[in-house]
């Protein structure tokens, strides 16, 4: 059927289908909204959103089922630029972008923008250095290009290892996100949530490979962007009366936030004085804990017993008073009961208590770049230059990693031509940009809400969203009247980053149906990225390892069967690893980017732009890049047991998340040296380079695989 259509008819049909689809989805949301008005409980609405969207993705997967190799690996190479752009957007934007990004910006202000810049600017490198050339080359996977360009099995094999390592690290972070969202909105257990989400991913990629994943990702993009925009626009209207948050946040909300920050930090103002009273309590508590820790260090268990005796005496003294205060006795008895049982428990408890000292710090100014604190101007200057260096290093690793992650580069094999590949990078970045330039605006608007409305409100009449979320999850919203004045001060509130996006519908006063929509959007973001990653891993194993290296005579039926089998195995392994909850998602993501950047980027770029690059250069460059990057993480990341020496091990004070800072130059250096000490590549390979450089040549060779 499809083959009989021309490409333009095909594109026109797609536009019609997805317009119907978007209309249908809006109607569905309205329907759920009506159900809510009729009094259907929120939990049921959560289930409806969860299962309806997963069923939808599975349905698209089912309709796109295929047994054709070209369709399975590269969606038949007929995805129009606009739709490839949407699919890239969904492929790209993960749970971390959708739910975490605005929260990170809320918490870290300017310094968090490294992620916004790094995750968008990388597309300039994709567009100019890679996408058109990879599209001309054709074939199916990124290791395919390395294999053909550098010859021999070794470059392909290193490519396979790099692709699997970085994609697997990244997919764990995605499945983790799926588990969090399903468990939060439906009350299912985390582990169950992981496997429910996985079922949705699998039905889709299992039946139709890249073809199914592409058309599902387009559908997922539409859901996620609608879900992200509606609450933010509403919030902007509520606070500023302007429905364009990307403008109103800077012109209207940011100046007010800056003024409030100054007020909070100035003890002479009424607000500043109140903040100071809370901070003083935190400082006292931290100082008391420090003193206790020192006593414990000196006298050991004897100190512990003496401290406990003091508390017991206090209870006795209170009881002996002429008019005993029941409340005070109760509190004192609780303190005795809660007293740490042994020295180790005491140390843990008091160290944690000492940590509240951090809450006594002044408010960080949102727009200030590289804000640091220090005793002397020299110390501040030194810390600031380290912060600046790390900010720029992280941006570089994220950008080059973007231009090297195989699941993104693979998308440019699916367009019909080089011309369309170039245009599709534009659409891809444009669709990503829509979300990424909204996130900083959301962070400012949310901050304005907290600073102007929450701070100063009475504890007896907290805004509904605050009391709701502090019941649901203390790590997201922790609020307590520290100085007992009955009024909320900023220092009394601790907000978890994920709260910002999740609570925006409630802050804006939207009905629960929009919260459900936001959850569906987060799920779409996590599922679509996981889809692309799983397919990349399965393809690297089935196509590059099995077909190209082990059994080149395998029939197409067998190749697809092997790929599907591997997909299942990889998915289950990833879900199993995720259900063990291997903490620190942010580091996993950062590691994936640094590894991809160090392993792939130098070899891919040099493969196109330097004809002299050859087999030995690629082998040395890729292994050196990966090796240095992995070694630096091992040296400086606490997970690998470097303990106290982690920071001392750092080179030029670069944090482990930016390990690619050393891996990328090592990769380039390896390629240059390795290539120069060995003979130039053969004439065939030089012709291959010419072939990828020109969209069309007379008497051109054909590198597209069958």
């Amino acid at each position: 059927m499809a083959a009989a259509q021309t490409q333009s008819q095909f594109a026109a049909n797609l536009k019609r289908y997805y317009s119907f689809y978007t209309g249908g989805f809006v109607a569905f949301v309205i329907l759920v909204g009506i159900l809510e008005q009729l009094g259907v409980p929120n939990k049921i609405l959560g289930y409806i959103f969860l299962f309806a969207t997963i069923a939808l993705y599975a349905g698209i997967g089912f309709m796109s089922k295929t047994a054709d190799v070209g369709e399975y690996y590269v969606a038949g190479r007929r995805v129009p630029a606009l739709f490839n752009g949407m699919a890239t957007g969904a492929d790209w934007m993960s749970a971390a972008s959708f739910i975490g990004m605005a929260g990170t910006l809320y918490l870290s202000g300017y310094d968090g923008l490294a992620f916004v810049l790094g995750w968008t600017g990388g597309y300039c490198l994709v567009a100019i250095l890679l996408a058109p050339y990879l599209r001309k080359f054709g074939q199916f996977t990124i290791p395919d290009f390395l294999g053909a360009r550098f010859g021999g099995h070794l470059p392909r094999l290193i490519g396979v290892i790099a692709a699997i390592t970085c994609s697997f690290t990244y997919v764990i972070a995605q499945i983790y996100g799926v588990g969090i969202i399903t468990s939060r909105f439906t009350g299912l257990e985390f582990q169950v949530g992981v496997f429910v989400g996985l079922a949705g991913i699998l039905v889709c990629s299992f039946l139709g490979g890249m073809k199914a994943v592409t058309w599902t990702q387009v559908a997922q993009y539409i859901i996620l962007i609608v879900a992200y925009m509606i609450p933010v626009v509403w919030l902007s209207v509520k606070h500023t009366g302007i429905p364009i948050p990307q403008i109103s946040a800077y012109t209207s909300a940011l100046p007010k936030v800056t003024a409030l920050e100054a007020e909070f930090n100035d003890k002479a103002t009424p607000k500043g004085a109140k903040e100071e009273s809370v901070r003083a309590i935190f400082r006292e508590r931290a100082a008391a804990a420090t003193a206790k820790l020192a006593g414990l260090e000196k006298d050991g268990p004897a100190f512990l017993a003496a401290e406990k005796q003091k508390l017991t005496d206090k209870v006795a003294a209170l009881k002996a008073e002429a008019s005993p205060d029941a409340k005070a006795i109760d509190a004192a008895e609780k303190a005795v009961k809660g007293f740490p049982a042994d020295a180790a428990a005491a140390k843990t408890a008091w160290t944690a208590e000492k940590g509240v000292g951090a809450r006594a710090a002044p408010v960080k100014r949102h727009a200030e770049a590289f804000a640091v604190s220090g005793a002397t101007p020299e110390e501040i200057e030194k810390k600031r230059s380290v912060a600046k260096k790390n900010f720029l290093a992280l941006i570089m690793c994220l950008m080059i990693g973007t231009a090297a992650l195989p699941h993104i580069l693979m998308r440019y094999y699916t367009t019909p031509s080089v011309h369309e590949a170039r245009v599709s990078v534009f659409w891809g970045l444009f669709f990503i940009f829509l979300l990424y330039f909204t996130a900083p605006a959301l962070a400012i608007l949310a901050k304005y809400e907290v600073y102007s409305n929450l701070v100063g409100s009475s504890f007896s009449a907290l805004p509904a969203w605050v009391s709701n979320w502090s019941v649901v999850d203390k790590t997201l919203m922790n609020i307590a009247d520290i100085n007992k004045d009955g009024i909320v001060q900023l220092a009394e509130v601790v907000i978890g980053g994920d709260l910002i996006v999740l609570a925006t519908p409630e802050i804006s006063g939207l009905p629960y149906v929009i919260s459900g929509l936001v959850a569906a959007g987060g799920l779409a973001a996590a599922l679509s990225t996981a889809d692309g990653l799983l397919l990349t891993i399965a393809n690297a194993m089935s196509h590059d390892l099995y077909y190209k290296m082990i059994d080149p005579n395998a029939s197409t039926v067998r190749r697809i069967a092997v790929s599907k089998g591997l997909l299942l195995v990889v998915a289950l392994t990833a879900a199993y690893v995720t259900s063990l909850k291997p903490g620190n998602i942010l580091f996993l993501v950062g590691a994936a980017f640094s590894l991809a950047a160090s392993g792939f980027f130098p070899a891919l770029v040099m493969g196109v732009f330097w004809k002299r690059a050859n087999y030995l250069g690629a082998v040395i460059g890729m292994s050196l890049g990966l090796g240095i990057c992995a070694y630096y993480m091992f040296l400086t990341y606490p997970f690998f047991g470097c303990g106290a020496s982690c920071v001392a091990n750092q080179w030029w004070d670069i944090a482990p998340i930016a390990a690619g800072t050393f891996g990328i130059p090592a990769g380039f250096l390896g390629i240059i040296i390795g290539s120069l000490i060995s003979p130039a590549p053969s004439k065939e390979i030089q012709e291959l380079v010419d072939h990828v450089r020109y969209p069309s040549l007379e008497g051109d060779i054909d590198t597209r695989g069958a």
């Binding site: 490409q7 916004v116 597309y123 567009a127 990307q246 011309h419 970045l429 330039f437 020109y694 969209p695």
Partner: protein
């Protein structure tokens, strides 16, 4: 397949436009980032350093890619290396 002078010229123009755009990309990213504190002194839709990193540089990125696609697709036709009409 033999490359003509015209082909080599096409590739050189491609290298030139790519370098120019990458310089713009570098300035929009790293130079802006390096001078973020200084730029914050200037007020343009909020502090300029903050605005550029939150929005301005992103707009530049989108523009870079749009211009590259537009320029190269024309260059392909001019030098006769464009692809034929699709089916």
């Amino acid at each position: 397949m033999q490359l003509t002078e015209k082909h080599k010229q096409y590739w050189n123009i491609n290298l030139k436009i790519s370098s120019v755009l990458l310089v713009v990309w570098f300035v929009a990213t790293f130079v802006m980032g390096w001078y973020a504190r200084e730029l914050n002194e200037i007020s343009f839709i909020g502090p300029l350093g903050f605005y550029m990193s939150a929005q301005g540089s992103l707009i530049i990125y989108v523009a870079i890619i749009a211009y590259y696609a537009y320029y190269m697709n024309n260059l392909d036709k001019e030098y006769g290396v464009h692809e034929g009409e699709l089916d």
